[in-house]
């Protein structure tokens, strides 16, 4: 990874997004994080349309499930069905622990599924683990 990795963070909860960004900003591999708050914006970003015409394809997508306008599962399905986008790893990062959601996401092609912990320290640790693995050890398509 030569330049700073790019992350698209899709989360409708500004409080969570804020925490996530804080962790990502203070990491060993500081990333450029773009945050959007709903599923439609996420897809516009990925397709570089509308207000996101200048967007650059992210190296990693961190995706919440329960989003307004278009929910995370729909975004996941579209991304993984699109040959131009499907190689971008998608990490589902959501409060849902439901086996149904987990099963569904893997069915739709999610690369990874991480449940948002309720506890602050664990939340930080989870985000840290995500960026540590994906940017410190995994190889991502350019």
């Amino acid at each position: 990874m030569n330049s700073a990795p790019r992350i698209l963070l899709v989360d409708d909860n500004p409080a969570d997004a804020n925490l996530t960004c804080e962790v990502l900003a203070t990491s060993e591999h500081p990333a450029q994080v773009s945050t959007v708050q709903d599923g439609e914006q996420a897809l516009q970003f990925l397709h570089r349309s509308g207000q996101f015409a200048e967007a650059i394809r992210p190296d990693l997508i961190i995706l919440d499930l329960n989003l307004p306008r278009k929910d995370g599962r729909a975004v996941l399905a579209e991304v993984k069905a699109d040959p131009a986008l499907n190689e971008v790893p998608v990490v589902i990062f959501t409060t849902s622990h439901s086996p149904r959601d987990i099963a569904r996401c893997y069915e739709l092609g999610a690369n990874s599924y991480v449940s948002k912990p309720g506890n602050l320290a664990q939340f930080f640790s989870a985000v840290r683990s995500i960026e540590n693995f994906w940017f410190g050890f995994a190889s991502l398509p350019n």
Binding site: P83, N86, E87, V88, P89, H97, S98, P99, R100, I102, A103, R104, Y106, E107, G109, N111, S112, Y113, V114, S115, A126, S129, I130, N132, F133, W134, G136, F137, A138, S139, L140, P141, N142
Partner: protein, 160 residues
């Protein structure tokens, strides 16, 4: 290696040194109780699809994680990956490609075929151990795995 019913990690690796290193690193971190290794793509497919030598296995006991090398005898890693990710019974299985290949096309092909992640094996011993440890931790602890049985999974998927 005698094969236990509950396999946490399936290692698909034909290089004995790499195999040794990986096993050592995983065991040291106590990341998995049962690690099973196969040496070629054919054996891997038989294991995961419960055929041939592994007829007595069943889809209720799929491993929790597959670490897959690409350069394998008999059937190469990409082919194994393709079969796993295209079959609904095994599609949800986390497969992490762990390979010495530096080819961009292998990387792209892997992600396109649905590999959950792709890791390049470093030459350096210590770095290798670090990578295995980190990958093991992420995929066995942080990552939520799907239910191992598609029947269970589809039951779960249809619950309110």
């Amino acid at each position: 290696m005698t094969e236990p019913i509950e396999v946490d990690i399936l290692l698909v690796e034909d290089n004995p040194d790499d195999l040794e290193l990986t096993l050592h690193a995983l065991r040291r971190e106590h990341l998995a109780n049962n690690i099973f290794a196969v040496r070629d793509g054919e054996e891997a497919v038989e294991f995961l699809f419960c055929t041939g030598r592994f007829q007595q296995r069943d889809f209720d006991h799929l491993p929790r994680l597959v670490l897959l090398d690409l350069k394998l005898p008999k059937l190469n890693g990409l082919e194994v990956l393709k079969r796993v990710k295209q079959d609904p019974r095994t599609k949800a299985l986390p497969v992490v490609v762990l390979t010495s290949s530096k080819e961009e096309r292998d990387l792209v092909a892997s992600y396109n075929l649905g590999a959950n992640s792709y890791i390049q094996k470093p030459v350096d011993f210590d770095r290798f151990r670090e990578i295995v440890k980190s990958a093991g931790l992420y995929w066995m602890v942080i990552n939520q795995r799907p239910l191992s049985n598609p029947a269970q999974a589809s039951r779960a998927a249809s619950q309110p």
